[in-house]
Structure formats: C-alpha cells, structure tokens
Amino acid sequence: MNFLYAAYTATWIIHITYLGILVQRYERLRSEIEELKKK
C-alpha cells in the first residue's frame, strides 16, 4: 500500500509543482506588462 500511495502522491506533486511554475511565470509576465505600460 505504501508504494501505491507513494506513486499517487508523486504524480500529484509533479503536476502541482508544474502548475506552480506556470503561475510564477504568469506573475512575472504580468509585472513585465505593467512595466511596459508605465514606459
């Protein structure tokens, strides 16, 4: 059972980490757009 839970947990950790990276990229891009607007 430990291996089963480890596999399912690892799957969701990978997906959530990737989603987190996407959110970070969105935030960075949003700040770049704000900077461009100010100029």
Binding site: L4, I14, H15, L36
Partner: protein, 228 residues
C-alpha cells in the same frame, strides 16, 4: 473562451476526483499483485497522454517547417513541455510499481531505457528552446522534435519486438484485462486527457502572451535608435 476555462477546469477537477475514487476504491483488486497494481491507473494513462502530446509536437513541428506558422511553433513548445511532465510521472510511478512486483527499482530493458531516452530527448529540446538565442532556434527545435518523435513508436512497440521485463501491452498484446479494470483505466485516461488539455490551454495562452511581451520589449529597445 475566457468563460469556458473555469467551467472546463471545474469539470476536469470533478472527473479527476471520480477517477481517483474509481482507481482506489471501485476497481477490483488484482489477484497476484494486490493493491499495488492500482498504480496501473496512473502509470498507463500518463504514458498514453505523453505519447499523444509528443505526437502532436511532431505534427506541429512538421507544420512549422512547412508553413513557418508561429502558432504551430507555440503548440510544439507547449506539447513538449506538458509531455515531459507526464513522461516524468511515468518514469517515477514505474519504479514505484516495479520495486514491490519485480523486486528491483529499475532494469535496463528496451521499454524502460527507450522511455528514459525519450524523456532526455524532450528535456534537451526544452533546453534548446530555453537557452538558444539564435534566430534559427525554432527550426532547429522542430528538426530535433521530428527526430525525437521517432523514439515514440520504438517505446510503444518495444515490448512486441523484444523480450523485456516490462509486461505485454493491454491493447493488442494478447493479454486480457477484467472489464471493470478496463472501465477504470479509460475513466482515468479521460480525466488525465482533460487535465492535459487544461494545462496545454493555459500554457499556450502564456506562450502567446510571452511572445507578445518579448516583441514589445524588442520594439521598445529599437525606438530610441529610430527616433535619432
């Protein structure tokens, strides 16, 4: 389209929760392996999804080389990146399933090795896209993606062609599967396909926005020169 996104996200979340319930609770327990066989419901759909994304990457790369379409190039980047995420899941859940069943984490057989090579090819593809500053990067990347895609059929058919530690395929491999397990497998694949579609959608929007910002920044740096 903006309104459809949260609805699609909600439906995907519901489908993923239902698929998880089916995989952990409703699916019958396999007689020889026991509960650890349930890793199958995450491992196999993730592999199929990765193969599908790499195939789309191949089509988009060919399309880019023929038409030089920036949208095809964006689709290629997105599918390669999301495909790598799903392939990473395959490479992690595989050993976690192999250890209790085969007694080893990893073996250098054709299926496992070709999957690792596939992952490394697309990691190299993403590194090329990320770090190359050449104007020819999309062309080089498209050529690399076409060569990389040759590994997809090798991974899929390796268990037919070679004697491997990896079990025979579920479809067309002569093996049989309980209809209830088959049902749960398809539900999980549908859920992961929706999830992959959702991520690709967001990532595609991000890619297009990023290109627009880069274009605006490039124009801005040119402006003072042209005004002189």
């Amino acid at each position: 389209m903006k309104r459809a996104f949260p609805i699609f996200a909600l439906l995907t979340a519901i489908l993923l929760s239902y698929a998880l319930y089916e995989a952990l609770v409703a699916a019958p327990t396999e007689q020889t392996m026991g509960n650890v066989q349930r890793i199958f419901y995450y491992h196999v759909p993730s592999a199929w999804t990765a193969f599908l994304l790499f195939t789309i990457n191949f089509v988009a790369s060919v399309w880019y080389l023929i038409r030089r379409s920036p949208h095809a190039d964006a689709v290629a980047v997105v599918t390669a990146e999301v495909g790598v995420v799903f392939c990473t899941v395959v490479l992690l859940t595989g050993p976690l399933w192999a250890r209790p069943v085969w007694g080893i984490w990893w073996t250098w057989d054709v299926r496992l090795t070709s999957t690792l090579v596939l992952w490394l090819i697309y990691i190299s593809y993403l590194m090329l896209r990320r770090f190359s500053t050449s104007g020819q990067t999309p062309v080089l990347a498209a050529a690399m993606a076409i060569l990389g895609a040759l590994d997809v059929p090798l991974v899929y058919f390796s268990i037919w062609i070679f004697r491997t530690q990896h079990p025979q395929p579920v479809i067309g491999g002569g093996g049989s599967i309980d209809p209830r397990m088959w049902h749960v497998l398809l539900i999980n694949w549908a859920a992961f396909l929706c999830f992959a579609g959702l991520i690709c959608w967001s990532r595609y929007r991000l890619e297009i926005l990023q290109r627009e910002v880069e274009e605006a920044q490039a124009l801005e740096t040119l402006e003072p020169r042209s005004s002189r």
